[in-house]
């Protein structure tokens, strides 16, 4: 199964790093969407089928925590695999995020950690058939 992925981070450099890591990991990717905050991320989810979301926490406009709460509250996306990719180090907040069914990758991350977490969250491995790896846009979807 090739994955449609959404990357939500207010840093365009970090989004590029994550996307490059996804590509280098050999994971089967179809479309890769980008958003720079939670509001934009929710809009992408509203307009596209997404198999996996990688979400930062500290972002302007709407942070990742709020976005994840809204995603879980919507029937269409309540079971969406979400991986938080963040500098967050508070055990309290990380436990809270995990209770919402998210994976967690701490920044700075290694490609191996990101790949392992994606495999764990989606069950998809690099051995599966690869899609065309289309990047929907060089910048955010907005």
């Amino acid at each position: 199964m090739a994955l449609n992925v959404l990357v939500v981070d207010d840093s365009s450099v970090m989004r590029s790093m994550i996307i490059k890591t996804l590509t280098l990991c050999g994971l089967p990717l179809s479309e890769v969407h980008q958003a720079s905050n939670g509001v934009e991320g929710l809009d992408v989810l509203d307009r596209n089928w997404i198999d996996l979301a990688l979400v930062d926490i500290n972002m302007p406009v709407m942070n990742g925590e709020e976005m994840i709460k809204k995603v879980r509250a919507m029937p269409e996306t309540t079971d969406l695999p979400i991986i938080v990719v963040s500098t967050e180090s508070s055990e309290t907040r990380i436990d809270s995020l995990r209770r919402q069914g998210t994976g967690f990758v701490h920044k700075p991350f290694t490609p191996e950690i990101l790949r392992e977490t994606i495999t764990k969250m989606t069950g998809v491995t690099e051995n599966e058939h690869s899609g065309d790896g289309t990047i929907s846009d060089s910048g955010p979807d907005f």
């Binding site: 790093m17 500290n58 180090s89 055990e91 309290t92 920044k107």
Partner: protein, 148 residues
Amino acid sequence: MSTVEMELYQTAALTFEDLAFTFLTPEMLDATLEVEPEASAFVEFKGPISGRMVISVYGCVLTEIAANMLGQSEIPTDEEQLDALGEMANIICGNVLPKITNKTDIFNIDAPKASNGASVWADASGSPAAHVTLPLADGRADLMLYIN
């Protein structure tokens, strides 16, 4: 070096290595000691303690940091270079705060602000609680942690 400065130094050094593949060098270029910063960025944080962390880079390190983070040989745009420095500040700050407080404490870190030169943090007043310098191959990075 105080405990806070030690934590800030080690966290920053690891972040430069892991994120930007930029390693510390034993010798610092004299030319980078008394010049205007190449660029600066800061993040403000609120929680059990509040304040801001500032990073300034001197010499010719900004392009390398951004290019390494992006994994590209082309020179990143000015916007990408400042974004990279801001993200560096964000990650260092997010990692150092639990080391100088408690692991269960919750902090909210604002989006980083970055600019060329030193103007971005020129309004920082008072003495920093911690100030460390990282010697890099083509310059240096100064990090200052201000606590309100």
